[in-house]
Symmetry: C2
Subunit: 649 residues, 2 copies
């Protein structure tokens, strides 16, 4: 085993022959311009101060300041919101001086670490709800979230240590981890936490410290699960907790979506360090089942409000989807690990779909309001979210609320956006792989430096310049997205078709010279997407996509009087594309012809006997589709992603 390279990246597997691709850190990949770079700046300038204020306002920090001094406020796992925000602050620091002045960030981090340090008990235990006397230590494993919270503390510490090299928070996290090892390690207990999370955190802590007991405990907590070790009381069954079937036997994702996916992140992390093939096989099976049968077009996961959980295969209703933001973030984390383990572009395809659609839609364009769950069809405009109180998670209101009583999503968004550079590119001994397209600079430990320049996803052209190379041959691998047809490549001006290899990448191998230019064209005409015939909820409907973007029809863009619940796409006229500024962004909107249906003949009934139903009637209108991620930024609205297709009358 080689020593870790310690890039400032969210997942840093040790370099073994299991690791197909090696991550690059946030100082190695710098987002410079465009969609993600802008969001990353807003994440620091707007979202992080917003979150810090709310964590003070809602009591989450106070809970830790002096556990038990005042009644605990908010959810019993509110510590995790503080830790996740702290993790985001860590990654944001890790982006380095180029990201801008960091004094305020540093102060905030120092203050939070001070709070956490004081709260920790002498034996390393730390949980403000338990220490406040509201529960007993490690007794309510199914619902208590104690290991979940400590897992997020560990992740925050790993981020802080990787980003700054400072050991303060890592020391706290190690003491907490050691406390858990003493309680659970060496099979001293046979149970685990109802909410997986600590598994991947322990592997990361092992990577950061080299301490094998953390890896051993991660493995143990995965191994015990699935034998109904958690006491099932109240609303949810063992499957909800991923405690119905051992992970090595599980074929598909079940239960609470975030839990299922966090668990699989830990499963892949343990595989990467131990090499146990059965773990990777299970993660691949479950990912494949999820991607083919339980993922919405916009990247949403978890069909069901009940238990925030995965539905059955092809149970994908766009109006009733739960689609928790955290579930899509967890899927990005899982896909990233599988990409590192396999080098297969399908995982980067899934990340792209998730990033540009659901994740982008989870946050307002001002970046200070959030959706906890994300519909793909809003039939009736709902009232705008209040701006001064924290709604429950449940139903998404008409606009994004500023915070939540269960505030897991906003800090999860913060840590993801702050560390986004870590998901763009990887390296191997033989080259550089570019998975996501943005204007960025990419530097590898070997000394190669590549610059990308693109207006993606609006523009189809990605320019790559080799800014520095080492004179030896290496391979530049560029992902050709699964949605793309007819990609072309030009190397120093010589153009040809871009035919990806089996893993989905165009591999360009040569002795590169400084200044060499590569231009990848990914044609992105407007296309119509049809659902698998088993997806009953959107049968006879299509969606509009362009490049990586899923589109939607939203009421503010339509002619007066058009009810989006009563439109049908007319295919006798081609769809057209039009550049426009929308909400301060240049976008391509899509214009389409539709039947605005007059359903008045159906008055009084939702059903009719075949042969007696009213004839289809209505008038031809022109509608406008916009990128899905921009919806609900202009007040309450009606919205739909899938559009019925008018059938011949």
């Amino acid at each position: 085993m080689m020593r870790p390279t310690h890039p400032i990246a969210p997942v840093t597997p040790l370099v073994t022959d299991r690791l197909a691709l090696r991550p690059l850190g946030l100082t190695e990949v710098e987002l410079r311009h465009g969609f993600w770079a802008d969001w990353q700046r807003q994440n620091r300038d707007v979202t992080i101060p917003h979150a810090l204020a709310w964590l003070e306002h809602d009591g989450s920090v106070d809970n830790l300041r002096d556990p038990g001094a005042a009644p605990h406020r908010g959810m019993w796992f509110s510590d995790s919101d503080v830790y996740k925000t702290l993790e985001g602050l860590g990654w944001d620091m890790g982006r380095g001086p180029a990201a801008g002045p960091a004094t305020q960030l540093e102060t905030a981090i120092a203050e939070l670490i001070e709070v956490v340090a004081r709260a920790q008990l002498p034996d390393g235990y730390l949980n403000s709800f338990v220490q406040g006397g509201h529960a007993r230590r490690f007794e309510q494993m199914a619902t208590g979230h104690e290991l979940y919270c400590l897992g997020h503390l560990i992740q925050a510490a790993v981020a802080h240590h990787r980003a700054t090299g400072a050991g303060e928070l890592l020391t706290i996290a190690r003491r907490a981890a050691d406390c858990v090892v003493r309680e659970f390690g060496g099979n001293r207990r046979k149970d685990t936490d109802g909410h997986p999370m600590i598994e991947m955190a322990l592997v990361e802590l092992y990577r950061e410290t080299g301490e094998p007991s953390y890896l051993d405990l991660a493995q143990q907590l995965i191994d015990v699960r699935g034998y109904r070790v958690l006491e099932v009381r109240g609303h949810f069954d063992s499957a909800y907790y991923q405690d119905e079937t051992p992970v090595r036997e599980q074929d598909t994702v079940v239960g609470h979506a975030v839990r299922a996916l966090y668990l699989l992140c830990g499963v892949v992390d343990v595989y990467l360090e131990t090499g146990e093939q059965a773990l990777l096989d299970s993660a691949l099976r479950q990912w494949e089942s999820m991607t083919a049968t339980k993922t919405y077009l916009n990247g949403a996961l978890g069909s069901r409000f009940d238990g925030e959980s995965f539905g059955d295969e092809y149970e994908l209703p766009p109006d009733l989807v739960y689609g928790e933001t955290c579930a899509t973030i967890a899927a990005i984390m899982l896909s990233w690990r599988l990409l590192l383990a396999t080098g297969e572009g399908r995982f980067a395809d899934a990340i792209e779909r998730a990033l540009f659609n659901l994740l982008a839609a989870s946050t307002s364009v001002q970046r200070d309001a959030f959706f906890y769950n994300n519909p793909a069809h809003r039939r009736v405009a709902r009232p705008a979210a209040p701006t001064d109180v924290r709604p429950q998670r449940a139903e998404a209101p008409g606009t994004r609320p500023p915070w939540f009583r269960c505030a897991c999503c906003p800090p999860n968004i913060i840590r993801t956006i702050a560390s986004l550079g870590g998901y763009l590119a990887t390296h191997t001994d033989g080259g550089v792989q570019i998975h996501q397209y943005a204007s960025a600079t990419i530097a590898t430990p070997r000394g190669i430096r590549v610059e990308t320049r693109t207006g993606y996803p609006l523009d189809a052209t990605i320019g790559v310049t080799v800014a520095r190379t080492d004179g030896r041959e290496w391979t530049l691998s560029l992902r050709v997205p699964d949605w793309c047809r007819g990609a072309t490549i030009a190397v120093n001006g010589a153009t040809g078709p871009a035919v990806p290899g089996q893993r989905g990448y165009l591999d360009l191998t040569r002795e590169w010279r400084d200044g060499d230019t590569v231009t990848l064209e990914l044609p992105m005409p407007v296309r119509l997407t049809v659902p698998h015939p088993a997806v009953d909820a959107v049968r006879a409907q299509v969606a509009i996509e362009r490049g990586p973007l899923v589109y939607c029809l939203e009421s503010p863009d339509q002619p007066d009087g058009v009810d989006l619940n009563k439109v049908e796409l007319l295919l006798d006229e081609p769809l057209s594309e039009e550049r426009r500024e929308l909400l301060g962004e240049p976008v391509a909107v899509v214009r389409l012809a539709a039947l605005a249906r007059d359903d008045s003949g159906w008055a009084g009934s939702g059903w009719a006997t075949l042969g007696e139903q009213p004839a289809r009637a209505g008038s031809r209108v022109r509608l406008t589709a916009i990128p899905y991620y921009l919806w609900a930024n202009r007040g309450p609205s009606v919205m739909r992603v899938f559009i019925p297709v008018a059938t011949p009358t």
Copy 2:
């Protein structure tokens, strides 16, 4: 105002000119043979003893035996389960000696009344959870269910008093109601209960006792609602509690389905006694909106698991429907009140759909197991329900559980089935109206006696004999169901078309003679039903119906290897009907041709670009559809009501 006639019926409005039809009591309408009579017998012989045993087993009776002596068990509103069962026992007693020996019932009723009498505080207050010290009286109005429980106590007392004439339980209920009047009446408080129910109970108590303060309080509790008088904490908003909009301004049903419908029952009851047209208008508007846009084909109501609530218009997913049994029962109660108020057959049509489909499916053929919520599409067979524990309500398992921790549905079924005779027919000064078809005898206060004989819903023929008349002219009104085409009528052998009047009834007016016979034929060929084009979830699908029955495809009836998630109806071959015994019942099953689709070309993805999707492939098979109400009686299964239609390839 005339004095009440006091039939032994669940709703007995005072006779005013608002009352279009007058109810008949359980001794006046006797179910003799067939579907409902058999269930009514099983209700007494199987379901009632089963329920009494579970109420003892789960602590619900013990909670009342000595509140506070032991920790309260089960839900904080478990008293209501006892009261609803007691109400069912009352109606069952009320069916009279013809219904069979009643000694055990009488003993059970006496024991329960004794328990309730002892639990009641000197001032009339009664709530085992509050008296046990777990909450304070009338403080948690949004969630406490205190008035809800007392409402059910009142309903039980009204049933017992009507059925037996004995005053014991009525005295208890009056003392409880007086306690509520003292606390809330005369606008002393501006709030109400989070769970409507007591409104209709107070009106019934007014009808039974003549005490106007009960009617006044019912009106007050309706009037205060809708002004956000309930403190919204936790998961649910004001709309969930029907506290967002005053009832007179409300246009559609919103929020928790059972609450919305119980409230509307009270609204119609108050209208019937006060004549305030705005109340009836609101109830009609909401009923019409519900029926046209928020009711499933099988009579299910409440699309959403989240909040057990109504969805938006046309949000009717068959796989994710919540469809609580109690919501459909509440809709029957509301439709019945509107039928009495208007005399319009559309309300009886709705009751028929609810009775023969969702309500019939809510209970196992053995009548000792129940669905709390009722899917109309089950994609994956789920494990059978455990028989020895009480599951949560949430997701319906593969078979019906014997009881629930939140056990509102089984007692609701008991009281409905026990009082079913009350929903069959009505009378006016001018005649008799038959709304539902079963073999029964119907006697009116005027001395008319009519006998009906039918194998409905299997058979299309309903024979009616005038067994006794008074020599004067009167009108026999027979409902022609909305699904029926080509009905015929024969009076003493002379046949002609049965053309219903505007209200949906065939009215036969003559000087009837003893022994006159009428034969109504309601042709019920198998038909295909298409959904309103705005019901996205079942677009391009059809359902099979025959007469009042909705059909389903269930896996045990299909050829080996057929996956019901991958079938499409082939319309090039007619559907055929076949008589068969199924689960001990003679039924008509429906045979159909279908494409068993081979979706293997879609491997790995739930989406494809239009034009690139795999060609439709598969093989022709013959499938069998059975009445929906029989599903899930042969172990875990896959089931669907709506079937995709194969489109031309």
